[in-house]
Amino acid sequence: MAELVKNTVEIPTLQTEEKTISPWKEAWQSFYKNRLALAGLIIVVFFIILAIIAPLAAPYSYDGQTLTDRLQPPSSKHWFGTDDFGRDIFSRVVYGARISLWVGFFSVLGSVIAGTLLGIIAGYYGRWVDTIISRVFDVMLAFPSILLAIAVVAILGPSLQNALIAIAVINIPNFGRLIRSRVLSVKQEEYIMAARAIGMKDSRILLHHILPNSISPVIVQATLAIASAIIEAAGLGFLGLGAQPPTPEWGKMLADSKQYLVQAPWTLFFPGIAIALTVLGFNLMGDGLRDVLDPKMKQ
C-alpha cells in the first residue's frame, strides 16, 4: 500500500520538476537582462577570485613592515601606497578580501542554518514553541544589531572568529522570522495536509516539502545579509573588536589609518573603496535575485 501511494505521489512531482527547470532558466535570463544585477555579480565574482589568488595577486606580504617606507603615496612600486608601518596597502587590501568574504559567507551561513531551523520549528509546531522562539527573536531585534554584536564580542573576547560568531548570532532572527512566516503559509497548502493525512513523518514533511518551498526568499535575504555582515565585520574591526593586528581586515585598516586622513588619504581611501565595492556588489546581486525569484516582483 505504502509503495503504491509513494508512486502516485512521485509521478506528479517529477512532472512538476521538469516544468520548474524552465523557470530557473527563465530566472537566469531575466537576471542576465538586469544589468545592475549582472554588474553586482561581476563585482562579487571579481572579489572572490581575488581572495582565492591573493598570494599570487599581492606583490608583497600583508604583514611585512618597512618602517623606512612608511606613508608612501601610490606609485608604481606600491600601487595603493603604504601605510604607517610601511606595509603595501594593495597587498593588504587583496588579503583583506579573503577575510571579509570569509566572515561574510560563514557568518551568514551560520545564521541561515540556525535561523532556518528555529524558524521552521516555530512556524510548523506553533503554540508555545512558537511563542518562545518568536519572543526571543523579538528581544534580539529590539537591540540595535551592532550593539548586540559588541555585547557578544565583549563576552567572548575580541578576535575575528568571535566577530564572525557575533555577526552570525545577530542575524539569526532575520532569517528565523522570514522562514517562520513562509512556513505558516506553506503548511496550510493542500499538499502538506495530504502528506500529513497519509501519515508522513514530521521530519520528512519539514525537510522535503516545507523547506524547499520556503527557501527562495532566504537565498535573496542571505545575499543581502552578506553585504551587511561585511559592513558589520568592518565595523567591529574598526572598533578594535574584530580582527587583531596584523590581520589585514578592511575595517581595522580604516581604524588604524584614521589619524592620517589629511596626511595620507590613500591609507583610508583604498580599504574604504574595497568595503564599498563588495557591499555594493552583494546588494546589487541580491536586489536582482529578489526581482527574479520573488513571484510578487515579477509583474
Binding site: 545592475l36 618602517l67 623606512t68 604607517d84 608601518f85 610601511g86 593586528p245 596584523p246 584614521k258 596626511q263
Partner: protein, 535 residues
Amino acid sequence: MKKRSLTWLLISVMAISMFLAGCGSKSTSSTAKDDTKSGSKKDTLVYGRGGDSTSLDPITTTEGETFKVTINIFENLVNYGKQDTTLHPGLAKSWEVSPDGLTYTFHLRQGVKFQDGTDFNADAVVFNFNRWMNGDEKQFPYYTMFGGFKKDPGHVIKEVKAVDQNTVQFILKRPMAPFLKNLAMSPFGIASPSAVKKWGDKFREHPVGTGPFKFVEWKQNDRIVLEKNPDYWQKGLPKLNKIIFRVIPENTARLNALANGEIDVMDGLNPSDEATVKANKNLQIIKRPSMNVGYLGFTVTRKPFDNKLVRQALSYAIDKKAIIKAFYGGQAIPAKNPMPPSIEGYNDAVQDYPYDLEKAKQLLAQAGYPNGFSMDLWAMPVARPYMPEGMKIAEVIQEDLSKIGVKAKIQSVDWATYLQKATKGDFDAYMLGWTGDNGDPDNFLYALLDKDSIGSNNYSRYDNPQVHDLLIKAQQEADQTKRNDLYKQAQQIIHDDAPWVPLVHSTPLLAASKDVVNYVPHPTGSEVLSEVEFK
C-alpha cells in the same frame, strides 16, 4: 523603470550630501574662529587632554592627569624651577637643614589664605602630614615616597611639629637625600584642614588649597572648571579668569578641536601631526622638556620570562631607532637605562643591546627555545606622553619578535584595568612608561624596579637584593657624587638582568593656539598656569 530612476536619485542625493557635509565642517570651523577673534581679550583657557583626573585630592592617586589640575589648586612648601626640578621657595619662604640631615625647619609665608577663607599656617601643615602618615597605601599611595606610613618601620618622618604660627619642623629618623625634592611633588600640596574635615571622603571632589585657581565644578569624563582665586597671595596673578580642562580621548579629534577653536591648548599631540600643526598659522607647537622613559616590561615571575637569556634575546630583537623614526617623528632618543639622561646619576657607560637578530636567536636557542614561543604582548589603550601611539609600537614589536620566532599576540583593555592587571603581574610582557615626578634617580629606579615597589609600580616584579641594597644606601647617602655612583652601579646590574627593554625617552609635544602666551611646560608633566594669558 521607475524604480531605477529612484535608485539614481537616491545615489545622487547621497553623493551630494557627502560633498556638502565635507564643506560644512570647514565653514563652521571658520565661523567659530571668527567668533573668538571678534570678542574682547580672552581670559578663559580651555585645555584639551586625553583622560580625566581620577581624583582631585592629589595625595589619593599617582596618576598624572590629576596633578595637571591640582597643581593649580594646591601649593607645596617648596617648588620646582620653571622648567627643571631645582628647588625654590613655595609656601615656605626659606628653610634650614641641620648638619646631621635629620631636622628640617621651614619658615612659612605669612598672610596666605586658603580658598575657603581660613588661614594657612604651621598647624595646617602639621594637620596635612598627620592625615597622610596615618593612612595606608590604598588611601594615599604616593606617601610611600617617605618610606611607608607611620606604622611601618621604614617610615622616615619621626615627627612634624609647629614651632610657632609660621615655623614648621620635620624631624627624620634617618637622613633622606631626596626629602626636599619629594616635598615639592604635586601629591604633597597643602590642603585646607577645615575643608578636609568638612568633606571627609568627598574632599577628592571638593578640593580647597591656597593656589592661584579655585575649584568650580567637575563633570566626570567631560570637564573640570577652575576659576581665578581673587585673594591669591601673589599680586597680579593669575592672569586667566577661568580654566576648563576638557577630556577628548582621541589625539586626532583633540587636534581637530584645537584647529576649530574649541580648545586653546592640547597635550598628547601625535608626533606625526607636528607638520600639520606647523602648517597651520593659527597654531603653535610647545615642546615639553623630556624626563620620562617608555619601556617594554617583562613580568619576570612568569615563564619563559623568568629566564634572563630570554629577556636578553628579546632586547636584541627590538629595533628602537626604527620605532623612534616612525612613531616619534624623531622627537625621542633611544633608551638604554630605566632613567633619562637629563637626571643626575645616569650611567652613560652602559652599552645598549644592539639590534642583532642573529644574537637574539642564538640566545633564545641557548635558553631552550630554538623555535621561539608564543606570548601575550599588552599595549596600553591610551596615549601617554612617553608613548603617544602604544598600539602601533606594539605592532612593530610584534613584527620584530616574529623575526626570531616569537609569536606575540597583542592585547589591550581599558586603562584603569590595564594598570590593575599590571600591578598584579598578570601580563607576560607589557608596554608602559614613567614620567619623573621630582628629577631624582630614586623616583625612577627605586619607584619602578625595587622589590619594595612590587605591588605598586614595579610591574615586572623584578627583585634583586643587590639592587635593593644599592638603592637604599643611595637614599641615605648625603654626598651627591657617592649617590650617583651607587645609582650607576644599580643601572649596570639592571641592564644585565634586563627586566625591561627600555625603549625611548621622548619629548612630549603640546599644541596651542598662537595667541596663548607664557605657557611654560614642566618636565614633570604638570605646570601651574597662573602666568598664562592670551595675546
